[in-house]
Amino acid sequence: MTRKKGAGPFPPLPPFAKNLLRVVFTLALTFLGLMAVTFFIGRVLPTDPAMAAVGNRASEAVYQAKRLELGLDRPILIQFWLFLTSALQGDFGKSIMTSKPVIDDLKRFFPATLELATVATLFGVLFGVPMGVIAAVRQSKLTDHIVRVLGLIGYSVPIFWLGMVSLVVFYAKLDWLPGTGRLDIYYDGIVDHVTGVILIDSALAGEWEVFNNALGHIILPAAMLALYSLAYIARMTRSFMLDQLSQEYVLTARVKGLPERTVIWRHAFKNMLVQLITVIALSYVNLLEGSVLTETVFAWPGIGLYITNSLFNADMNAVIGGTIVIGACFIGINMLSDVLYRLVDPRAR
């Protein structure tokens, strides 16, 4: 077989391989940029990681020894290079705050946030989407106003205050729900850490009492986050639905005599699904970043609190590790959204 004139030494790649390479290259560049930005910002912050590690009382000798141990005496580019080469081998170093490998900390803190964010998003979608649709269908009527006011409340009320109030009402006064944390102390340690998501781990182990208790604990913090998520999803759903209901094809469908339920759910709703998926994905990722205030009020050991405490203590290994995880979630959910677009919209295939 003769080679075409001007062709390189290697056969041309098939299209899927080219796409894959492009995706991998983009991902690698994104993560590199993420790590670099976080690393360099951490180094220019007016906080001293060595001081955070040894404490205010340390002698100068102890402090300088820590600086050497953390490699802070080296040029900043060398520091970044050393960090990068370790990170590529899965070693994000040790956390100053916990004395444990950052990877181990992330395995504990991230599933807690994943669990909370997922339940909150499910609540948000379960209630927010129907509310948005109803509000659009009944535009300017009482239902629409109620939904819009609820949305405003969800955006405006400080989550910290609402969290405390909900604890006072549902935990302290009514005794309907348990208090802070992920589990009552009676159940701690019963279920092995498999995924780190207690609801899943307890179900896998068949420990339904633990499951029930974990479910009780998650309701309030998830409801707080869901309120914000619901407000956003309901508002956007309403807006998308109004846009679809004003299209000519909807008028045509109605004129043709189709039931209103079919017009709304089979036609209008389906046509707004792509936009809705984007909104839900963004809302989910926003929650996965961790909500520091909710985690503080409910003593929920999530990644938001982990990164925030690490930042205040200049524990940059932990901050970068957490940032990478959240970056990966963002990218992963974006990719999942792309797949879902193709499933719901034949034009995108």
């Binding site: 009382r57 004395s99 129907p130 604890l167 208090g179 009780g216 003593a299 405490n309």
Partner: protein, 533 residues
């Protein structure tokens, strides 16, 4: 359609609530549950632990060479030490081991464990190692100066000029904890003396063993049934991380915790008289002070220093902002401890302050502008605001700079502040601990970098203060020693760069059925083994 959607929403809500169990109220009878913010625990190696929460935990995990027992918190007694004696020159201390102490691992404790533990602190050279290195010990000589000639005897040789009483007091600090040498060395890696392993594990012999430590989540301790004090009533102690004080209060009121330790003054007030809850009040050794950087010329004038001391509204702050969580105390060694000086000669007197400023050449403030650095949290912010307001009345413009610790401490240690409001607690239960910090400054040059001393940080170096602190540190007669510290404190009240203002009053909320939860003056005197329900 609307009804189907409404019904579906209602059903989902009902399912959520019905699936959640009614919470189990109350704590188990054999478990002591505490709510507090334990985010400050960064490791549990007694050679390094220096934070409040970590120190409380290791007090209960380890026996110390010397200690204060909960039945008498002012009397120093032997921990692992049965008896001790001094050589004539006071430079050699012989400790006789208490018999029958068993580590959590099951290994019996011998003198070798004690010697190893003390040597290890010096060799690892972590933050609290200065407590031992001040004896003249360093990594090269400590093996020769701390020895175990037999299984029951530990011999300590002190090369520095220090009172043996001071040495014994220092051995009651967290660094005096005795670790299981065999266990620790079995986990040694690259000659680290087991450091990496012991950060997150247990090698103690104390009344409680570490079962779990999940950073920023909880600590679980289990009873050590072979503790030398006998079997504690509480089989388990659980310390739950609850960062938010309001949530701590709710948990306490509901009975889901037995004690809440970070309640604010207004929350404690709200709990007064509440059924099932009591408030414990105990003196604490932390002092809040205002310091004046002597690198700022105007602050070197004794009249200006005194003017600032008269400008502080001690009683107003104590009653309003501080709401009983601090009491007025104006000397560098806390009240309630041996050799404390409890006179408080200063009260707010703006006329006197103005007169002193005028004498110093700064009539009506003289256009002075100063900065006040402090922590960005209560009550430091509020105290700073009060001081700012007082200075304004004197005609001095003061700008408050709020920072968190990670930013403030490097600035303070680099002497880049002017006025600072901060807090200091003793490192061990001997007045030399604070005399060394507040009074002693043998070398004020920037190059000396004696950053562990407040005197150096504030560039305050007075020969008389340094000499008096040194003399008191080596005085062997207890009565004389006590008098020397009292005299030093008295002099420094009116002749120093400090306005020591308040001493912390510890307050916690506790369930009424929980008894004998003993807490002492220092931050690590917290005893779980005496708790009963």
């Amino acid at each position: 359609m609307k009804y189907r959607v409404s019904a579906a929403l209602g059903l989902a809500a009902m399912m959520a609530f019905s699936a959640a169990p009614v919470a189990q109220a109350g704590t188990p009878k054999d478990t002591f549950v505490i709510a507090r913010n334990i985010a400050d625990i960064i490791n549990l190696d007694p050679a390094e632990v220096f934070e409040f929460s970590g120190a409380e935990v290791i007090t209960n995990m380890y026996d110390r060479v010397m200690t204060f027992e909960p039945d008498n918190l002012t009397k120093l007694v032997g921990g692992t030490t049965e008896s001790y004696s001094f050589s004539e020159d006071g430079k050699t201390i012989t400790l006789k081991m208490r018999k029958g102490i068993v580590f959590h691992s099951g290994n019996p404790m011998t003198a070798e464990d004690v010697a190893f533990s003390l040597q290890r602190v010096v060799k690892l050279k972590k933050t609290p190692s200065f407590i031992f290195t001040q004896f003249g010990w360093d990594k090269d000589n400590v093996d020769g100066l701390v020895t175990a000639p037999d299984a029951d005897t530990v011999v300590l040789k002190i090369t520095a000029d220090l009172s043996p009483g001071l040495v014994l007091n220092a051995l009651s600090a967290g660094v005096g904890s005795v670790v299981d040498k065999k266990l620790v060395l079995s986990h040694e890696k690259d000659g680290d003396l087991g450091y990496e392993w012991l950060k997150t594990n247990d090698a103690g012999s104390g009344p409680y063993m570490l079962k779990t430590w999940k950073a920023s989540e909880l600590v679980v301790l289990e009873r050590h049934d072979k503790d030398r004090h006998g079997v504690a009533a509480m089989k388990r102690v659980i310390i739950r991380h609850v960062a938010e004080a309001s949530a701590q209060r709710l948990l306490l009121e509901k009975g889901d915790v037995d004690a809440s330790e970070d309640l604010t003054a207004d929350q404690l007030k709200g709990l007064e008289g509440k059924e099932g809850v009591e408030i414990d009040t105990f003196p604490q050794s932390n002092l809040m002070y205002l310091a004046m950087n002597q690198d700022v010329k105007v602050l070197t004038d004794p009249k200006v220093q005194d003017a600032l001391r008269y400008a502080i509204d001690y009683s107003g702050l104590s009653e309003s902002v501080l709401q009983g969580s601090y009491k007025i105390h104006q000397a560098f060694w806390p009240s309630g401890m041996w050799a404390s000086y409890d006179e408080n000669p200063y009260s707010m007197n703006m006329d006197k302050a103005k007169a002193l400023l005028a004498e110093a050449g700064y009539k009506d403030g003289g256009g002075l502008k100063l900065t006040i650095d402090t922590l960005n949290k209560s009550p430091f912010k509020e105290v700073a605001q009060s001081v700012q307001s007082s200075l304004k009345q004197l005609g001095i413009d003061a700008e408050i700079i709020l920072s968190d610790g990670a930013t403030l401490w490097p600035k303070y240690r680099a002497r880049k502040h002017q006025l600072i409001i901060a807090r200091w607690g003793p490192d061990y239960s001997d007045p030399h601990s604070n005399a060394d910090a507040f009074a002693h400054n043998p070398d004020n040059r920037m190059e000396a970098k004696l950053t562990g001393k407040l005197s150096w940080r504030n560039a305050w170096a007075k020969d008389w203060a340094t000499k008096e602190a040194e003399a008191a540190a080596k005085e062997t007669d207890l009565v004389k020693r006590e008098a020397m510290y009292k005299e030093l404190q008295k002099k420094m009240q009116s002749d120093s760069c400090y306005a020591i203002m308040f001493q912390l009053v510890g307050k916690i909320g506790r369930r009424a059925n929980v008894k004998n939860y003993v807490r002492g003056v220092t931050f690590d005197q917290v005893y779980f083994r005496t708790v009963t329900k």
